[in-house]
Symmetry: C2
Subunit: 229 residues, 2 copies
DNA sequence: TGCGTCCATATTGTATACAATTTTGTATAC
DNA sequence: GTATACAAAATTGTATACAATATGGACGCA
């Protein structure tokens, strides 16, 4: 069951649970207890507790004392908040990049990875989200601000959980790649306003699609609960 | 020793340790072990471990397996990164506030708290930092974005640890209050550019002072290590 | 003196037993 | 039939014992 042997069991349990949650193998709201996970993983409560604490920190799991843990429910309000924070952080990235000096190679490198990404074949929405996240994280890393990068990654992780419900079409993919290229071009031309606008378009497009996907997911869940009752 | 009885020991230990670190009762680099803290607090390793994990998450403590834990060292790079993130997030706050509708009372309320704060007598740099943080956190709360507020609070906590080394003068205090008022005025006048500029001035002023304070602290630490050797 | 090896020790990682607390089910009185 | 009190079960909170592992120093050897 272990994929890669890691230095401790806590991170093993954490990784597996996180992966399952992100892949929707546990539905939002799904409840589990420390004891139950112990039996499932064949480890004691100590590492399980640590893993759960990490998941709670990552906002993927809610904890209610003496009742148990549960996979975070979809919450439109929170999703919008996350998109706003993402917008705030990435706008700063863009502004910083258009205004600071950097060697031509840096731009070239990012451009080449963009080319590679464009060639990548996308089969599901998780891969598509990964592609988009990867591009934005590369931009952030380019600023050299590690803290900023970490924050963006953290946001991305929480949103990825949502984004896998998004629909994927070759049309969407092509559009997104074009938006990424436009951002890169604006940076090269050192046009702040233009770059900011391009970024905003890209992010808002994502927000809109996710919003749509969530509403459908919630509708399905509602129908499911009616059928089940 | 317990100030307020809390539902569990982990948060007790966490709060006390955090407070001590922020107050510089433990110097940066100070090392402690799980066992040692158990004896000091008279509790077992379970709650101590949880408390330490939380401190590591909050970036106030570093952990090195099989060597122990240590209070985070001052790191100029990281401080600059934090200030940049703070700038990114708060710029968004300002933009959002100047551009969205809100009832007049909201502005009045913030203005009144500003008046109260101005009257507050400041005796040390920690109180001064608290005052400044409080203002900025109120601005963030005003946007209604809970996630954004949490992020800013987290940043503030990490910086507070640094800011307590800052010097405090009545001059600085007056200046800061004026900057705060200017931000408020610009928001009321819905002048985005002006508000952004005012915010930037306020934050960069803080950054500059902290930078100065840190350099002195590092110099002192260096002299101390020489004297000790 | 310098370097490498080995072992004792310190420290965290894990398992398990017990305590405290909340929830939930049930019986009883009204 | 409903509400209340009480008991039992489920669940997390805490303590402790044991295992694994890296560190640092001592010792031997060149």
């Amino acid at each position: 069951m272990k994929e890669q042997h890691s230095p401790n069991l806590s991170t093993d349990v954490f990784s597996v649970l996180k992966e399952r949650i992100i892949r929707w193998e546990y539905a939002p709201g799904h409840r589990f207890t420390e004891e139950g996970l112990c039996e499932e993983f064949g480890v004691s409560r100590s590492p399980v507790r640590e893993a759960l604490r990490m998941l709670v920190e990552n906002k993927l799991v809610d904890k209610t004392p003496h009742k148990g843990y549960s996979v975070k429910q979809l919450d439109m309000q929170e999703i919008h908040e996350l998109y706003d924070v993402r917008l705030a952080l990435e706008t700063f990235v863009i502004e910083r990049l258009t205004q600071s000096e950097y060697p031509e190679e840096d731009w070239q490198e990012l451009y080449h990875t963009w080319q590679d990404l464009q060639k990548t074949s996308i089969t599901n929405s998780s891969d598509f989200a990964k592609l988009d996240e990867d591009f934005h994280e590369r931009l952030a890393r380019w600023t050299g601000n590690r803290t900023l990068l970490d924050q963006i990654r953290s946001i991305d992780e929480r949103l990825h959980f949502i984004r896998v419900t998004d629909i994927t079409s070759t049309e969407r993919l092509r559009e997104t790649c074009e938006q990424h290229l436009r951002i890169l071009d604006c940076i090269r031309e050192r046009n702040v306003d233009c770059a900011r606008e391009a970024l905003q378009l890209n992010i808002e497009e994502g927000r809109k699609n996710v919003e749509h996907a969530i509403k459908e997911a919630l509708a399905r869940a509602y129908m499911g609960s009616k059928a089940g009752a």
